[in-house]
Symmetry: C2
Subunit: 525 residues, 2 copies
């Protein structure tokens, strides 16, 4: 029987499963299941309205889609006459939920059904922004490996939000847990946290989580967050075996090794075959995330997180980001569709087609800060800039300039990372935008170096399966095929130099920047 | 019989005539006549093709529309039981044509009918650009009162173009004359040039036209330009009386006093009632032109021309400009119409309507350099810039920001002019954009001062009639009514300060700027 691994990939709107043949690396089956309740952003299932900037998930949805997907994968394994030998999973993050001591979500208890703070707070729940700001202004030492910044999307700001706004929920919260870790707990019966989630979303470093003193200084009582966490294990670590209940319900074997959870973006690294230093993987989606592995931990301004064993065991994982990539292109399409309320999809096609016809640089220089700047300036209040407009600038030219700006941002991220990790000769692209050839080609041109593109559209789910394989002590299959794009030698050096100058000028001059300042006192939100 | 004056206003696509009652200032009649051949930009009337950037007029068209319009005005005068006592005219400029010694255009002679260089070169004929660049690089002393710059649109560059590209035409050219001066010659039989055309378009200063030495240094033979010109007379000066032939053909009285010609924009000053210092008049159209009167001549960087008796007799006339105002708004509308090829006019209406609903500044800062910067930087190669974009920036917001940028440019022009003229407490707006209330209101807000708006849409034609009245020694009628717009107190000081900073930053840093440099040698085009 061929050994097979299942990778589960939990996104924002749906979850998917992948069945991977471990000897060959062939992807045998893919299945998708949407969350029955979707994203709760306007009201609870009962109709109780939510304030703006809220985004919740119903914890029960995860159990439902998991059972559907695992059942399908078990059936597919039988069809392919293989044996499922490993299970791994990745999820969005930080997407924490409060549970009791047995791991039962408070949202599933009668007493808390009408309490919004009892639900799973999705990564894009942004209502904790004032708490993030208060933490950043206080500049506690635990931000050192995070470019001096936490985010409203992360675990601590969301925990503080519950503590302050729903003390009774916080009181009843025995465990404050990322949905990925909670799923591992559900599947194995063991509460085993992941170094990935803990390190990138809860400021956990080798010396531990933030100290009780540092948390108490932010807000008396906030140190109680620590009692609700647990020390993490490396990614690719065997958290336990599948419980008989799950095994029976889905048609899998009890005791099937289950790996610790991983964040979806991070799972893309093994998914595209990167399990050692020297390659930067950029996941180009709505926003972009840049990840690499290194043997050393060097704090560099603008790197959003350096976490041991957080991406692949045995290495420090580095994370950087651009908060608007596809989002910026979608903004332009939305702008162009404004006059006529025309469909946006054909406009994308038309612009990408025009991009393919271009014969040289746009001549414009753009700062890609439509949603602030993460790496290297860590300033959410920065805004986008376009320079070089004239009466002949047409929509395809500006579209090209926006793509170039995303690529320049990625080039700057690479150079920023290299200060910590040394040379990164390989650049691997994945994510939605990487499926558009003209965009990838322009990245190669702007970066002035070869870029490689994942051919699997399931890089994260594939990665999840590989964490499972590693946890079960199976050898990894051969790396998946990558497509190579060579730069066309277009002259981008002068405009990249100008981009850097403008990053410096506008990054520095911008008022109200929230770049870390030392010794600031901690205002309460 | 009520004394009436006729004002003739020759534009790019058509000419118009206005009949003005001199005692009251009432505008009795307006008539419009399009040029039969329109703008010749692709080919001559014979079909002979023209190179790109060419724009010609057929000289015969001017005679034809003049006869039509004067005949209509004579009839209208009889209808209103008045007597036409004065005639004045304004035209586009620099729009020169070559004629023989009697004023017959070469284009009307059989031998030159197929010779493009024999036609009237319209102001927007841009093929003389290399000659303008060569002049600017040489930095001759005669550019001192012109911010160190000539333009491809002006007389000298266009003359050099003929000299070099069509020597036989140049040889046959006895007079090189602005269309306005040529029309005066046709109407009166006297070749009388205008200080306005000569000063603003042929670098004529009190000490004379550029010296033969300076011209020879640019190109041997170019000093021959001077023999083809003539010393000018002030605006509002009686050039002569209407010839019997014209009088008979149109039903006017022979000997009717005809004033020297004026440039159309400049004619707007008396047209809106400004005939003394203290007011800046901005003509807001495709581009914007800013004019004011002063008793002193002070050269200031970025002022495109300082000319004695060039706008109103007895004063120095100052001219500044923004090369893209309405053009920049039209660019945005064109961009928004791109996706759907939708009509542009309703989009303007929709954007102007949204502008009226806005309740505060856009929050963006824009450099309005879509067609280069005239005042104060005199650099045609500068490009537009937009700063402050984010995912929530919608088309109306950017439209507002573009209008704000035009207004900030106008505020900077006012401050630049004030360095030479002293305080300019009044700002009067006219031209196409001044008919949109929401735009005018935003100008008042950004300028932080009251602005006045001409209620007549015929400011230039009205001005032309008033130059005629002055030439005929009639008293001017009362100034026309102006609408007052008070600033709403919106907070624009910080963004204007940022605008100035960015003007400085991008104006300075821009490579390839053609800002005057001293002692450069004169490369040949």
């Amino acid at each position: 029987m061929k050994p097979l691994a299942i990778g589960l990939d939990y996104g924002t709107e749906s979850a998917r499963a992948l069945l991977l043949e471990l000897e060959t690396g062939r992807e045998l089956e893919v299945a998708v299941a949407p969350y029955p309740h979707g994203v709760l952003s306007r009201c609870l299932p009962s109709g109780k309205p939510l304030p703006p900037a809220w985004a919740l998930h119903h914890p029960a949805d995860y159990l439902e889609v998991t059972q559907i997907l695992l059942t399908q994968m078990a059936q597919a394994a039988r069809k392919h006459t293989g044996e499922v030998v490993a299970l791994g999973l990745d999820t969005t993050a930080s997407s924490p939920l409060p549970t009791d001591g047995e791991g039962t979500p408070l949202a599933l208890k009668e007493a808390f059904r009408e309490e919004p703070h009892a639900y799973l707070k999705l990564w894009k729940h942004h209502a904790a922004e004032p708490y993030a700001q208060a933490i950043n202004q206080a500049q506690p030492g635990f931000l050192r490996m995070y470019g001096g910044k936490t985010s409203a999307e992360w675990s601590l700001a969301k925990a503080w939000e519950v503590l302050e706004q729903a003390p009774s929920v916080w009181e009843a919260t025995s465990r404050w847990i990322e949905v990925g870790d909670w799923l591992v707990w559900q599947l194995t019966g063991n509460e085993v946290r992941s170094a990935c989630q803990a390190g990138y979303k809860a400021h956990r470093q080798p010396e531990g989580y933030p100290s009780p003193e540092a948390l108490r200084a932010l807000c008396p009582g906030l140190e109680g967050w620590l009692n609700r966490l647990a020390p993490p294990r490396p990614v690719g670590y065997q958290a336990g075996g599948l419980t008989s209940r799950w095994a029976q319900a889905c048609g899998l074997r009890p005791g099937l090794p289950v790996s610790t959870a991983v964040i979806d973006a991070h799972a893309a690294l093994p998914g595209v075959g990167v399990v050692e230093p020297g390659a930067m993987v950029a996941i180009l989606g709505t926003s972009s995330c840049h990840l690499t592995l290194s043997s050393q931990a060097v704090p560099v301004a603008g790197v959003a997180g350096v976490v041991p064993d957080g991406i692949w065991p045995g290495f420090f994982g580095y994370e950087c980001g651009q908060p608007a990539s596809g989002d910026m292109l979608a903004w332009w399409v939305r702008t162009l569709a404004w006059a006529s309320s025309s469909d946006e999809a054909p406009l994308f096609t038309r612009l990408n087609h025009a991009l393919k016809q271009q014969a040289g640089p746009s001549g414009l220089v753009v700062l890609d800060w439509w949603n602030g700047c993460r790496t290297p300036l860590m300033n959410a209040r920065l805004k986008g800039m376009v320079k070089g407009l004239d009466l002949a600038t047409d929509p395809p030219r500006l579209y090209q300039a926006l793509v170039e700006a995303s690529a320049m941002g990625t080039r700057l991220v690479r150079e920023t990372l290299e200060k910590a990790t040394g040379p990164l000769p390989r650049v691997v692209l994945t994510g939605g935008l990487s499926r558009v050839e003209a965009i990838v080609q322009l990245y190669a041109d702007v970066l002035g170096s070869v870029v490689e593109v994942a051919t699997t559209p399931q890089a994260s789910a594939r990665g999840a399966a590989l964490y499972g394989a590693r946890a079960a002590n199976f050898e990894l299959p051969p790396a998946p095929a990558l497509r190579i794009f060579e730069p066309r030698g277009w002259p981008y050096e002068a405009s990249y130099a100008e981009y850097l100058e403008l990053v410096d000028y506008f990054g520095r001059s911008q008022e109200g920047g929230d770049h870390p300042t030392q010794n600031a006192s901690a205002p309460r939100p």
